[in-house]
């Protein structure tokens, strides 16, 4: 275990700090990069040999790249639209999920009363309620945001609630002994100790929000003048343009990944000095 108190133990051993840094970055990114190369290689091999004359089933990677480049402005604007919807749905899910988690953590009765409905929000088949959502919110981005919200809210609510309820018993006793008010106990104890749980939920929901936005677009269709990635996917499917379809799938995947990375980054900033999950330089 390395400690700031014994900082000499964790100082880079290499002569130059710059070299040491480059070395550390290489060690961190080389393994996934290698997996990427192997994956693309395998895909290329398959696309050229087995699907050599059926590339509408499995396009060649460079054709996908070319399609993405040719349609870049469309692809970009669709990605921006989907990003906006996913971000709005995710933001709404954070707000509502955390507020309800805080409310439910205040009394067992509230938790028992509300929790089943939170679960139902998760279990309701989104495709089945989609017509109702469209009926209420119209063929527009608002409906998409609602779908993204519905898919993303439960993990946030559930994990935040779990975090708020798993405060260490002795810590609660300590606060009680020194007559801390409920508000103080919440601010100084329950909330900070819930942070790791909150971010576990946020990481799951980040990807789900993007999926929700695309599912929403898929359901609502091309109602508006411009569509996000979900709408573009329908178009590409209709034209049997597999190259573009693949490019859109890659864009959607990267978008979800970006969300995840952003959330993880914020979590790391908040927890890096004290929580095991956020510590890197442990040897």
């Amino acid at each position: 275990m390395s400690t700031p108190a014994f900082a000499a133990d964790v100082a880079p051993r290499a002569g130059s700090p710059v070299l040491a840094r480059i070395g550390a970055i290489a060690r961190a990114y080389a393994p996934p990069a290698l997996v990427f190369v192997v994956f693309i290689g395998f895909w290329s091999l398959l696309a050229v040999t087995v699907y050599g004359d059926q590339n509408y089933l499995l396009p060649r990677p460079w054709d996908v790249a070319q399609a993405a480049w040719e349609e870049r402005s469309q692809l970009w604007s669709a990605t921006v639209i989907t990003f906006t919807e996913a971000a709005a749905g995710f933001g709404l899910a954070i707000l509502v999920g955390m507020v309800f988690a805080v409310v439910m953590s205040q009394a067992k009765l509230l938790e028992r009363s509300l929790y089943p409905y939170a679960v139902m929000l998760q279990t309701v088949p989104i495709v089945a309620v989609a017509p109702v959502i469209v009926l209420w919110f119209g063929y527009n981005q608002r409906s998409v945001i609602v779908v993204a919200f519905m898919i993303a809210v439960f993990p946030i609510l559930n994990n935040t609630l779990l975090g708020l309820l798993s405060t260490d018993r002795n810590h609660v006793d300590l606060f009680r002994l020194h007559k801390a008010s409920r508000l103080r106990q919440f601010v100084k104890l329950r909330l900070p100790s819930a942070i790791p749980h909150v971010f576990a939920g946020l990481r799951v929901s980040a990807g789900l929000a993007v999926i929700g936005a695309i599912v929403g677009e898929f359901i609502i269709g091309s109602g508006g003048s411009e569509g996000g990635l979900g709408v573009k996917v329908i178009y590409a499917q209709g034209k049997l343009d597999t190259n573009l379809l693949f490019a859109e799938v890659v864009a959607a995947t990267l978008l979800g990944f970006l969300f995840f990375v952003l959330v993880s980054y914020v979590g790391n900033l908040l927890m890096r000095s004290w929580h095991e999950s956020a510590l890197k330089n442990d040897v």
Binding site: T3, A107, D173, M271, S273
Partner: protein, 265 residues
């Protein structure tokens, strides 16, 4: 573990009446748990001001329950505890109960924050307390980077910052290795003699109890009760070589006999 609504509603329980002298007076305090188990039979205990008293006993003898009742953490079923009005109590748990997101410095200030001390006073007292437990220089470190012994030192410092009149400790050293435990025992004695608080120390280690205290209260289980109250006629300040003294072994044998006697019944 989630709390039940009954626990959430619980009020600080024990009637605390003022007494003339210092110290603690426990009068026929008992505890019966809601499921009907008697954790503690009606118990009387008096601890003089500035005394160091240990409570030893097997697990389930109600020693921790008694300590928690005195601290005001658990309501007593009957009886009452009294201590001087306005006397500050500090409680040290078996586990260091540090807040992992706070640095050593901020952890040392936690109870002072809760008790409403202003910033300057918090800084001053916390720094003083950290010095008392030899943790100066570690202010910016987070608890996860501290050893078990250092965590417990910090836990002691956090309580000492309050300048308590009454120091309640619930098996604080039981999770530590032998060597660290003995070092901390000596440090605790040194701090006790300089600060002059009343100490009530719960342990299951009879040698620890004898080494630290001027009096050892022996408890027994099923039902929890006090079976012996043994004086330790060894002078302070105590040093590790006292463990080889014949008086030390004599008292230890007495405590041990009381513990076994209690277990047989």
């Amino acid at each position: 573990m989630p709390m039940t609504s009954a626990e959430r509603a619980e009020k600080p329980p024990t009637v605390t009446a003022p007494t003339d002298g210092g110290g603690i007076h426990v009068r026929s305090v008992s505890k019966v748990f809601p499921n009907g188990t008697t954790a503690l039979e009606p118990t009387d205990l008096a601890v003089g001001e500035g005394q160091f008293v240990s409570i030893v006993g097997p697990s389930g003898c109600g020693k921790s329950t008694l300590l928690r009742i005195i601290a005001g953490l658990t309501p007593a079923t009957t009886g009452e505890c009294s201590m001087p009005t306005g006397s500050r109590r500090a409680f040290v748990f078996q586990d260091a109960t540090l807040l992992p997101w706070r640095t050593v410095r901020k952890n040392a200030q936690l109870l002072l924050e809760l008790e409403g001390f202003d910033k300057a006073e918090r800084e001053r007292r916390a720094a003083e307390a950290l010095k008392l437990v030899s943790l100066e220089g570690f202010e910016k470190v987070y608890p996860r980077n501290l050893s078990g012994g250092m965590k417990m030192r910090l836990s002691l410092a956090r309580a000492l910052g309050l300048q308590p009149k009454l120091f309640l400790m619930d098996e604080p050293f039981s999770a530590l290795d032998e060597l660290t435990r003995e070092t901390l025992q000596d440090e605790l004695l040194r701090i006790w003699s300089s600060e002059g608080f009343t100490a009530l120390f719960v342990t299951h280690n009879l040698y620890e109890a004898v080494y630290l205290s001027s009096r050892v209260v022996v408890m027994s289980a099923r039902p929890g009760r006090i079976v012996a109250d043994i004086d330790v006629p060894l002078p302070y300040p105590r040093t590790p070589d006292i463990r080889q003294a014949p008086e030390f072994n004599e008292v230890s044998a007495k405590v041990s006999a009381a513990l076994r006697g209690g277990a047989v019944q």
